[in-house]
Symmetry: C2
Subunit: 362 residues, 2 copies
């Protein structure tokens, strides 16, 4: 497809062209069925096979321990801002402890206040969310129901390089923007969840990975379709699932596997982000948003010496087939989101473009 | 597409082939963007235009009164089983009154029990859900927060031909399986909702049409993404929307308009269902499930003289390119779901097949 741009959108984000072509090819007739996969019952064996293999591929790619369940739930990561407290606040003090390192943490903590008390363990606002300072984990109340963090902050382009040991307090993580881009030891977590629309496919649905001992104690006010135990019991189809999203996710997982798995995605992410950080570090023109010690490998964020240059940068990059580089409104500047599907060549093109833009405007 | 079957699936259901082809054609490159519509931010003008025109087309097709809001929410109709009580139970007695005419009504009433008291106005179990008897509306407690019904019962193939006048009690309706297949006066309702996966496109999302005076009083335990006022305030994008589903819905609405609108869909539904009911009525072989007075025009359900004949019917019809005719497990027998996308020719083929099957096996 010669007319496909390099798409740096933060999410919904670009998908690998081979995945997109496969969806297109079989869109009217899935494997000789005479109908699309989006046109048949989610309870038919032909879809059940997709659902089962999506789960088993995810388990394989992540080396997921056996005592974790994999659920596919409606509404994306933000619905989990409600689901985490609704499902976990039964424990001990009905209290959620939050590491706030950006916008999604703020919203998650706010939502939890509906269902119990909350505690802010860390709020990196004082650092303009540019870094994630050391935290003395002995300050975590071991009577908390859970502790929550955001693994990667899309707006600011920071991430947790390693995760705090929360002891007996289950750690819940929003991994929407870096799932499958780095090797993770899931046994460190009670719950990990991620919206599909970055590394897992299309929007509207989330994957929820939950340790099995945490199931079955949802608060009485939990809507049926936010209850982890209900999704576990019904193998993610207590009602009609987002068939298209699960189908696309399977193709994404197959593609990751073909590329060499999560380790290869991590290597590639390191290489891609290094290309851009190298441009930023050697420049007196661009100002990187994230502190070098806490840089994301998924979202690279930077400002210009004058704000007026942003629009020029966006227009000219767009003309070069480098699309979607506008930063989030709350941060300003530019942002290159370079999820798994972004090829190295696309990032190399952007790095060259940035250097050229600096030469012309510096 | 010569290899497309006539697909009688109950939902997810067949979509019109021209709609499917359009999705396929522009899947890798939406209107020269160089990216798919599923790969770009839901906040870009290019998607906002889709969202806006989907709403305005829906308003046009349904003659929706101005004091109703149109929301697109996560999770399909079953998420609304929770959302309706969470958003409406603030009124008066914190009580939901339910007309139960099939499985979806049972589940809706059960879910409402979490949030307040409920009252069953009618339960057609005594008729095996085959009919919807007259109801003396004076029995409705005018202090109820709302009254709820299911417009069309997919399992049994019954429907409300007209709707009860509930006075000052807002009527909430699950119209998942017959929305846009019949002309409806929305001013009779407080809330109408429908999952997309029958007459509106693909699964995972619901449309919610709500009278504006009912907004803004959700119960305190309402998750943010189940609150009608939040969706209204954020024009259905408080978080990442199911971009693909909305995009497909717009194509579905454009297609309905091209066909002549809802009135033409209703005429066609009458014709299609009459073809099948005529076969049933003239037969001593098939036993229709629904009482003739309460027959659905969307789902035609019937049994065989011996249960063994069902499998034979399914195998032989499938061989003839008539797909998805198995009835729901709770009802047994066969079911032909003939939503808007099913062409008259497909139903005519099925009617002929049924007659032939009766001749051979009667």
């Amino acid at each position: 497809m010669t007319n496909r741009v390099y798409n740096f959108s933060a999410g919904p984000a670009m998908l690998p062209t081979p995945v997109m072509q496969k969806i297109q090819d079989e869109f009217l007739d899935y494997q000789g069925l005479g109908a699309s996969i989006v046109e048949v019952s989610h309870r038919l064996p032909i879809f059940r096979e997709i659902l089962d293999s999506t789960e088993s591929l995810f388990r394989e790619l992540t080396n997921l321990p056996k005592n974790y369940r994999v659920l596919f739930m409606h509404g994306g990561a933000q619905m989990q801002f409600s689901a985490v407290p609704l499902n976990l606040m039964y424990r001990k003090k009905h209290k959620g402890s939050y590491f706030i390192t950006g916008r999604w943490g703020i919203l998650a903590e706010k939502e939890a206040q509906r269902y119990g008390s909350t505690e802010v363990l860390m709020d990196t606002k004082e650092y303009d969310y540019r870094q994630i300072p050391e935290f003395d984990i002995s300050k975590l109340d071991q009577e908390s129901s859970y502790a929550h963090l955001t693994t990667n902050n899309t707006l600011y382009g920071t991430r947790w390089h390693s995760f705090p040991d929360t002891g007996s307090v289950p750690l819940a993580a929003d991994a929407t923007s870096d799932i499958l881009s780095r090797e993770m030891d899931y046994s460190q977590f009670g719950v990990v969840y991620a919206g599909f629309q970055k590394n897992l496919g299309t929007s509207g649905t989330a994957i929820v990975i939950v340790r099995d001992d945490l199931l079955g104690n949802a608060l009485p006010e939990t809507p049926k379709l936010l209850d982890y135990a209900i999704f576990d019991e019904h193998h993610s189809i207590p009602n009609t699932i987002n068939v298209f999203a699960v189908y696309v996710m399977r193709l994404m997982l197959e593609w990751v596997k073909e590329q060499g798995g999560v380790q290869e995605m991590e290597n590639l992410a390191e290489k891609k982000s290094a290309l851009l950080y190298d441009v930023l570090d050697r420049s007196d023109f661009y100002k990187a948003v994230a502190h070098p010690k806490h840089r994301s490998t998924m979202n690279v964020t930077f400002h210009f010496p004058q704000e007026e240059l942003l629009q020029k940068f966006l227009t000219e990059s767009d003309n070069e087939g480098l699309f979607g580089l506008m930063g989030h409104a709350m941060v300003g500047g530019a942002r290159a989101s370079i999820y798994n599907a972004m090829p190295l060549e696309g990032v190399a093109e952007l790095a060259l473009f940035m250097q050229e833009f600096e030469r012309k405007n510096g």
